[in-house]
């Protein structure tokens, strides 16, 4: 099993036997708010803490705001982080993690949502 995963990571191919790899297209910005490795592991915690600070205390710092994520990572084609090649949805589909941020929050970039 471990060998299989290591082998699969090495090939770097988009075609695997069963599940297509997520599409991670970075279209905007030089760097994210934290190093990529940290973002991959910790982004949910950052959003979670920012959520409570903003909602409860009115602190609207932009560094870890969901609006900031969407504004940078939305596809230039659809303006959304959802959809087949959406930044959020393709990775979460791969990891089989259901997110419900976008039941309430708009998945569209600010200029598209207005």
């Amino acid at each position: 099993m471990l060998l299989a995963i290591a082998g699969f990571a090495d090939t770097g191919s988009r075609q695997t036997e069963r599940v297509p790899l997520p599409v991670v297209k970075i279209e905007k910005g030089e760097a994210c708010v934290a190093p990529v490795e940290e973002m991959r592991r910790e982004h949910m915690k950052m959003l979670f803490h920012q959520r409570d600070r903003t909602m409860r205390e009115g602190i609207r710092a932009t560094r870890f705001s969901l609006k900031g994520c969407v504004d940078c990572h939305a596809s230039s084609k659809t303006g959304s982080v959802l959809g087949e090649e959406g930044f959020c949805s393709s990775c979460h589909a791969y990891a089989s993690v259901k997110i419900d941020c976008f039941e309430c929050h708009t998945p569209l970039r600010e200029d598209r949502a207005r």
Binding site: R53, M55, R56, E57, G58, I59, T62, E103, T106, A113
Partner: protein, 233 residues
């Protein structure tokens, strides 16, 4: 620096530079990193005699907050509505906008089993939809009928105003605008009848008018100390 000195500097900056260009914002907007403070208490003053027979405040609110109708008035969300009052004895009719009254002692917060309904430090009463379970106790508890339950999936939300099925919502006093140092959308649409300001600041327009002119709270008998006050009701 004491507040008077700071305000004087603000006026000086406003006087020196061209209109619309100020070194220091007169509204003294909080920085985005700063938490809402208990030193402020946001409120509204609504003059009923200047309130005409239109619904500019309602449409401005629903446009700003992305509140759309499904064409089913019985269950559609209402953040603000126009209410007509008719004196049975004389037949005199008045209309007034009714929304969340942003009480100091909000019954909706008392009954919420999850703590989702809460009052922010600056007096704005909100629903944290992350923890709202949609039980609707607050809808029952509010004496003003200010809260709405969202029955159907929502699309087309505004980036600053998340809204979703299964949660309760109401007027937020346009908290996203207030945090930017702006006034709520209803006040911007109807400055003739509505004044927004800080009830805790003795030099604010709203506080001056409340001191010098008579005003009423809706259901004053409940002693909720509402943040929204009415005049000539």
């Amino acid at each position: 620096m004491n507040p008077d000195r700071r305000q004087l500097l603000g006026f000086a900056a406003a006087a020196v530079l061209a209109p619309g260009l100020r070194l220091i914002e007169l509204a003294q907007a909080r920085s985005p990193e700063e938490a809402a403070s208990t030193l402020k208490r946001w409120g509204l003053l609504i003059d009923i005699e200047s309130c005409s027979d239109c619904d500019a405040c309602v449409s401005a609110c629903h446009e700003e907050n992305g509140v759309s109708s499904h064409g089913r008035p019985a269950t559609d969300a209402q953040w603000i509505r126009k209410v007509s009052l008719r004196d049975r004895a004389t037949g005199h009719v008045q209309t007034l906008p009714l929304m969340c009254q942003h009480c100091e002692h909000p019954p909706c917060v008392d009954v919420c089993p999850t703590g989702a309904s809460f009052k922010r430090a600056d007096g704005i009463v909100l629903v944290d939809k992350h923890t709202c379970i949609g039980c609707r106790y607050c809808v029952m508890a509010c004496p003003f009928g200010a809260r709405s339950f969202i029955h159907e999936p929502v699309t087309g939300q505004k980036p600053d105003v998340p809204r979703g099925k299964g949660t309760v919502e109401s007027c937020t006093l346009c908290v996203h605008r207030v945090d930017r140092g702006e006034t709520p959308a209803c006040v911007e649409a109807c400055s003739q009848a509505m004044v927004f300001g800080d009830l805790a600041d003795p030099s604010s327009e709203i506080r001056r008018r409340l001191k010098s002119e008579p005003s009423t709270q809706l259901r004053a008998d409940l002693a909720l100390n509402t943040g929204v006050r009415y005049q000539r009701l």
